[in-house]
Symmetry: C2
Subunit: 442 residues, 2 copies
């Protein structure tokens, strides 16, 4: 049996995908049953890094998703449109879809999976999160027998590269971003990466799989790394932490025992923000462009997946592994009989998860601020926090800057709403010159 | 549809497995289609940590594998017999088998998979390596599209716990082993762990999956950690290394370009031994009872899987994930039609991999020896190594012990056969008091 693949896009990931499919020697034997039938490109004449017959190439993407000979569509165009529309057309034509498009899946996943279920086909997306790291398949299969408590990831290579260099060089954000842009580790428009949007797309997808419900992408709290300073990294280090952009999805701890006092019962936190990570934590040593995803569940405990989060080869490996999974399922179908869906590939949940507001989050906090160097200031700070039920672990004066005392406050686990109210009050103090930074602590 | 499970064994892993199957809430919905039908135990009266109807329990294990109502047999007895015979009987009865038994699979895998293929059923073994870490399924599925170059693992928690404590406390092997036995981290008879047999079973299994061929377990080189001393750990640390018991399966680098000079073409190295690991290597920071498996392939690069390598919960998670995979496949089968095997679950290879002899290995080496403190000794050493084509990176006198000079030699990458010949010659020198240790360097 041979299954025909239509490839939408021949950029970095598309090229990598074609290379694997065209050269199956010493790879899984199932790859030999796959054949690239059509490849949709923007320009027919562009020089390519992969050899494909000219007859394969077309600029007519709609013709590919409507081609009755094609069994599996691989969408590696990126961006919201025309990707979303083409995927929906492919599904309507009864074709399976493999996509690396985290933006489309995180925003339109509900629509896509409903359409796929209706057509009796699959939408697979291993490449959308963590590049080559197998994490989507393990979440759907091996880890699914667990009650997942949390998924915590370093899922954006660009920001991890920048933070790692800031950590190693003691440099500030802007110059290192510029250097990263020149070296090709950051895009000319770095917004989606450095403001955390890409990580938010990915944690929305991981949360959906881990907790078996749809996630409203708009409800994902998202804070980037622009405001992280060399000073914070240096103080965090003295306290035994590294600063990482973490994407976190966690079942609220009260969810097992809902009470009237805990409005967050049976709900999730889904959030992306720079975080102080204890240096002995498994995620603390994930550096450079590497990604890692830590899954916590009952009864498995902690497992972590680590690897290259982007790049032609790794991402193509993930794309082709999905194509192979579909091929395996197609191999098992007797054409004569009714098709029964593979419950480990199909997406069965249709309800949305409840996402709790950030105010309800319980976390430790790190706060750096500049105050006038007067007696009683620390007492005033401590009293204010106390009045808002924010219990402090430490207040330390770490230096002087232009006649101002620079203080670092670390709290115990407190409710974010209370902490933010206390910080708002501090901001209004005559002694306060600036709230330099507020960071959450893992 | 409900599928019936027969459980052979109700020890630690069996109990954990039963707990998950009896309590499916907030786990994958497929678990609801699984039912524990019979549980085979040694004694019916023993107090249990899990509630099962007394009618489920039986001491007649053969009756379970022959019970026509049972679809899936879970073998968590451990040991070679009666496990092997029972698995073969179950397969002959057309039952799928899930096993956590690395000893049986590494030794009798060929026999089991041949029997399974003949009967059109599966033998799944996620729990046999790395406890709860999903590594077998990713190797069979997501990573299968790659050309795997190497699998390198810390796959034995007991030895990693002992080496971690030796590293942290500066202590020697024997007292820490005894303490580990009292704390329950090592067995009363620690041989299978500390002599590397357990790790050798596991790397034989991983190599078979990664390289798509059967592995002769007897051909796996295996050296344990008994001879690793506090002195070696301390010197290794000074050189920038930690000592880990690594299980390594690697395609020989000459395999892509076989020549008459390289008899190892198209062959594998499969070996277990204590190894100096550079401290910035991803495996270097895997401590305590944790396991980690690093997979290197083309085009994915490096991916690592990290987590608890043993224990009731993690291992049971792996067992039940296999049971669920089988249930998913059974769900897709229309009873009316001929069964087509799932090519991602079945084991298709029947040929044996060629394993190259250790003499042919190219590696760096660390050697610690005690010599008489005479002029010219270091020159004599250097000359001997040179005569055997062993190029040295350093010879350092690290101390004096009972009027003997303690030297540490580190080589460049050299052929093991040459290195061992040179060491044999050194042993015969009048100046040599003792070859204290020989370790390979990653």
């Amino acid at each position: 049996m041979v299954f025909k693949v239509g490839l939408l896009g021949l950029g970095t990931v598309g090229t990598g995908t074609a290379k694997i499919l065209l050269d199956s020697e010493r790879r899984h034997p199932l790859l030999r049953s796959l054949e690239i039938h059509k490849v949709g490109v923007r320009s027919l004449d562009k020089p390519r890094d992969v050899e494909l017959p000219q007859s394969c190439l077309t600029t007519d993407l709609a013709a590919i998703v409507n081609d009755p000979e094609i069994d599996i569509i691989v969408e590696v165009l990126g961006g919201l449109e025309p990707a979303r529309t083409l995927i929906l057309q492919a599904l309507a034509q009864g074709k399976h879809v493999v996509t690396a498009n985290k933006a489309v899946v995180s925003r339109y996943g509900g629509e896509l999976f409903t359409a796929a279920n209706k057509a009796g086909v699959y939408v697979l997306l291993e490449a959308a999160v963590g590049g080559g790291i197998p994490v989507i398949q393990p979440l759907k299969q091996a880890l699914g027998v667990n009650r997942i408590q949390a998924v915590t990831g370093i899922v954006n290579g660009t920001t991890n590269y920048i933070l790692t260099r800031m950590q190693e060089e003691g440099g500030d954000f802007e110059p290192i971003l510029q250097d990263a842009q020149q070296l090709g580790y950051a895009e000319a428009d770095p917004t989606a990466d450095v403001d955390g949007w890409d990580a938010a797309d990915k944690i929305a997808i991981l949360a959906s799989l881990a907790f078996g419900g749809r996630i409203d992408r708009e409800a994902v709290y998202c804070e980037g790394i622009r405001q992280v300073s060399a000073a914070d990294i240096s103080y965090a280090k003295k306290l035994g932490f590294v600063i990482k952009l973490l994407a976190i999805a966690r079942r609220n701890p009260t969810a097992d025992h809902p009470t009237a006092d805990h409005p967050t019962a049976d709900s999730l936190q889904v959030r992306v923000h720079p975080t102080l990570v204890p240096k002995e934590h498994p995620l603390a040593s994930v550096n450079g462009v590497y990604n890692a995803i830590l899954v916590e569940g009952d009864p498995i405990g902690q497992v972590m997946f680590f690897g290259p989060g982007a790049g032609e080869g790794p991402t193509a490996s993930a794309v082709v592994s999905d194509v192979m999974n579909i091929a395996a399922t197609l191999h098992m179908e007797s054409p004569a009989t009714e098709k029964l869906p593979n419950p480990l590939l199909a997406c069965s949940h249709e309800d949305y998860c409840t996402i709790s507001p950030m105010d309800a989050l319980v976390s430790r906090f790190y706060l750096r601020l500049l105050v006038k160097d007067r007696p009683g200031v620390i007492g005033h700070l401590g009293t204010t926090f106390g009045q808002h039920s924010v219990s402090l672990e430490s207040i330390v004066q770490i230096g002087m800057q232009d006649n101002l005392a620079e203080l670092v406050v670390v709290t115990h686990e407190v409710q974010e709403g209370n902490f933010q109210k206390a910080v708002a009050e501090l901001r209004g103090f005559g002694e306060t010159d600036a709230i330099a930074s507020v960071l959450r602590v893992l």
